[in-house]
């Protein structure tokens, strides 16, 4: 059963959201989804970009002013 895990990176500046995402993804199984909560406009760009380069399915949604949720489905 694929699970969804939430990772709170609110208020964190680069590169912390990215490192946390990297670590959190390592602990997930293929098919699981990681939801990264971000409120830093640089992380909103580099987290999805990094995850896509790693070959994961990525979707970014703007949930509020200056807040994003990045959905990363682990593909490998």
């Amino acid at each position: 059963m694929a699970k969804e895990v939430e990772l709170d990176c609110m208020g964190e500046a680069c590169p912390i959201p990215l490192i946390k995402t990297e670590k959190a993804l390592e602990e997930l199984e293929v098919g699981d989804t990681l939801i990264v909560l971000i409120d830093h406009s640089c992380a909103m760009k580099n987290v999805p970009e990094w995850a896509r380069k790693q070959g994961h399915e990525v979707e970014l949604e703007e949930v509020d002013d200056g807040e994003w949720e990045c959905y990363i489905e682990k593909m490998k």
Binding site: M10, P15, I16, S41, D64, D65, G66, E67
Partner: protein, 182 residues
């Protein structure tokens, strides 16, 4: 009125110019253009951190201190800048402009949010990082803008030396960050 702003929000050109993040290369080209404009209109390339030393001197003087006898501020140029005051220093306005420009850009994209300090760890990281950057920039004749970007653009070998050691520092910093500040 509200409908008008909603309409702007869905406009393609608005999205292109104000909403979606520009590619890094576009950013590089635009910064280069403004760097060249800076050099050709003011006679000097862009610098950021030198101004902070002046801000420090003004704060120090506000607190009753005096930098008159400091070698760093002894040149006639530095003296004149300090004498003219905070609001008459062009560098001050350029740095404040960076804050205002970023604020406007963030608001225009409906992406502004006050991010409060989350933990004591952040305070320590910010304070330690700030001190290191401030001191380092003074003894290396500038920061990643004045010493690196402007140095390399000015065909000064110092820019490359700065780049090499700054890269080494960034690796050490990354290790420290992962170990102590996360």
């Amino acid at each position: 009125m509200k409908a008008f702003f909603e309409k702007i929000k869905n406009n393609d050109f608005y999205k292109m110019w104000f909403k979606d993040a520009l590619p890094y290369v576009t950013g590089a080209v635009l910064l280069s253009v403004f760097q060249i404009v800076t050099f050709s209109t003011t006679g000097n390339p862009w610098g950021v951190s030198g101004v902070f030393a002046n801000w420090g001197a003004w704060l120090f003087e506000l607190g009753g201190g005096s930098v008159e006898k400091w070698f760093y501020f002894s040149s006639p140029g530095a003296q004149a800048t300090l004498e003219a005051g905070f609001l008459n220093d062009p560098g001050t306005w350029r740095n404040l402009g960076i804050i205002a420009g970023a604020l406007f850009a963030a608001m225009m994209a409906s992406g502004f949010k006050i991010k409060k300090i989350k933990s004591f760890r952040q305070v320590i990281a910010a304070a330690l990082g700030g001190l290191l950057m401030g001191y380092g920039a003074r003894i290396a004749f500038g920061c990643n803008i004045g010493a690196l970007f402007s140095g390399i653009a000015s065909l000064s070998l110092s820019g490359w030396v700065f780049a090499a050691f700054m890269f080494a520092g960034a690796i050490i910093g990354s290790k420290l960050l992962v170990k102590y500040f996360m």
